[in-house]
């Protein structure tokens, strides 16, 4: 059969919860349009119940993921990079569909791959850099180590389809956290495809969950859920920032606002971004005087 006669196989963009690709439980969708105002995809308009289900999955997965050895977590991050590398053309095409030039798109995907490898390398090193033996004036051996904070909710930057999301997720999970991320509202397609990459990369179910939907509707849910231990987000919009801070205070959630970072540049990767979602645990161990 000639290729021209082939029926097009349009992809259904779903959300990613607990290692599965369900549709939103709300049954709501929003059309994503290109610059010519043509619909390029129907995207799930995730609901607070989708978020709740995702948090349940993330909580369930967290202890096991934190117990995995640093070496294994590093290998799995490296595996994500490998899988993404193999699909570069798909991601480039998808970013172009959403209005990027080919050059921009290719650069963004390549940086995303490199960023995953960067954090894969940090997996078994950040602990040594940030841990310390502390001088104390008593008969104690006093040391501080990092522990993952738990479940992190992530609002990915709206102005990038892939690199922003990857730059938020990678430092959170490399440190043993699990996360629920909300994809860019205006460029959501690559996030769903990235979920497929995660799915093929031995990332245990529930470690990363990705929703698509409206930021105005979901940000406060991401901030208020009592079973979420930290929220990482761009911190844009003064009114919303106040609301996020107030709601997060309900269970003393860590609020990590990252405004005005150029995720395409080197400032978009740093071990300090890993530390953002770590808790410092200090132990006083008695020794003979």
């Amino acid at each position: 059969m000639a290729a021209a006669n082939r029926l097009s196989v349009a992809k259904t963009y779903k959300i990613y919860i607990d290692g599965k690709f369900p549709r939103t439980e709300s049954g709501r969708y929003f059309p994503l349009k290109n610059k010519q105002d043509a619909v390029i995809a129907n995207v799930c308009r995730g609901s607070r119940k989708d978020f709740r289900n995702a948090v349940v999955a993330a909580r369930k997965a967290q202890a096991g993921w934190a117990r995995a050895s640093a070496y294994l977590r590093g290998q799995i991050l490296y595996r994500i990079a490998e899988m993404l590398e193999g699909r570069i053309e798909q991601f480039v095409a998808e970013l172009q569909l959403q209005g990027r030039t080919e050059r921009q798109a290719r650069k963004e995907v390549e940086i995303a791959v490199d960023r995953l490898i960067y954090y894969a390398g940090w997996a078994d090193k950040y602990q040594q850099v940030f841990s310390s033996v502390n001088p104390v004036s008593s008969a104690h051996f006093n040391f501080s180590v990092l522990e993952p904070t738990g479940v992190v909710s992530i609002i990915a930057p709206d102005d990038s389809g892939l690199i922003g999301l990857v730059s938020y997720i990678a430092p959170a999970i490399v440190g043993g956290n699990t996360c629920v991320a909300l994809a860019s509202e205006s460029l959501p397609l690559s996030a769903v495809s990235f979920a497929e990459v995660l799915h093929a990369s031995d990332v245990p179910a529930g470690v990363v969950n990705i929703l698509t939907g409206f930021r105005d509707e979901l940000t406060e849910q991401f901030a208020s859920h009592m079973d979420v231990n930290a929220i990482a987000w761009p911190g844009d919009g003064r009114k919303m920032a106040r609301s996020v801070q107030t709601l997060a205070a309900e269970n003393i959630k860590r609020v990590i606002a990252r405004p005005k970072i150029d995720w395409m540049s080197d400032e978009g990767e740093s071990p300090y971004l890993i530390r953002d979602t770590q808790e410092v645990k200090t132990t006083w161990h008695p020794i003979g005087s």
Binding site: R48, R52, V55, R59, S224, H225, M226, D227, N251
Partner: protein, 308 residues
Amino acid sequence: MSVAAVKKARRLPDLSCVPAVDEVGVNERVARFQTRSIKKSAKVEALKLILSMIDLTTLEGQDTAGKVRQLCQKAIHLHDAYPGLPHVAAVCVYPNMVSVAKEALAGHDIRIASVATAFPSGMSSRKVKLEDTRTAVAAGADEIDMVISRGEFLAGNYRYVFDEIVAVKEACGDAHLKVILETGELGTLDRVRRASVLAMHAGADFIKTSTGKVQPAATMQVTLVMLQAIRDYYRDTGRMVGMKPAGGISTSKLAIHYLVMLHETLGNAWMTPEWFRFGASSLANDVLMQLMKQSTGLYQSADYFSKD
């Protein structure tokens, strides 16, 4: 009732006359129950009713007196941050823990249920099973959860199973008797229905799905079949029998589906802890988290609820 009337009532029925179960019909009916929308204030009422129907259970070989006391504390103080909560119906423990529970629950209107009759397998002699039952009752159990001899039942030895239930019922004295069918080992819904009829005729005050030690434990399908058996038995004899699904019911959503099923099969008369129980442990905290969600608007975390 006179002694003769009691004996007449406790006659082994002809189980070949028990109606066959239409499995496809049961599945469709169960699917229907799950489409009911219970929201807002109706949901809050349902959640509180569920709490009041819970038999808070710990049945582990590793149970200690401390663990049982902790469970009893949980039964008394479900979640003090939420005023006006009902307490659970009962705590359910092994016979040797009944006295511990009795002491911990002194002064509270929470019943003590104890499993007996060589729980969970029931593989022992009649003599041992009766002694097990008497031990639990003597220690202060208000309710006895017995297991039927599934091996004998599956071998078609209905008389044996029937007589055993009658004997245990006698050994219970004033204590209520719940008869566990262990539906996961019965295999078909037809057998579940037959075992339900047999147990009710033998004098069961409650029929109960499972021990919680065998998978699958309670399912909505077997529970529906048992509820229908209770309904038909009530129509025939005028005696109400209670129902207790146990094992595997750990979310509020599922528990609400069970309530819907109870309501639409047996009606309002059974919608009390006197006639319906949930055998569960983790269900209580899930219900509490849902209640707090309803009152605060925030999704809750298990970190802020006491463990049982």
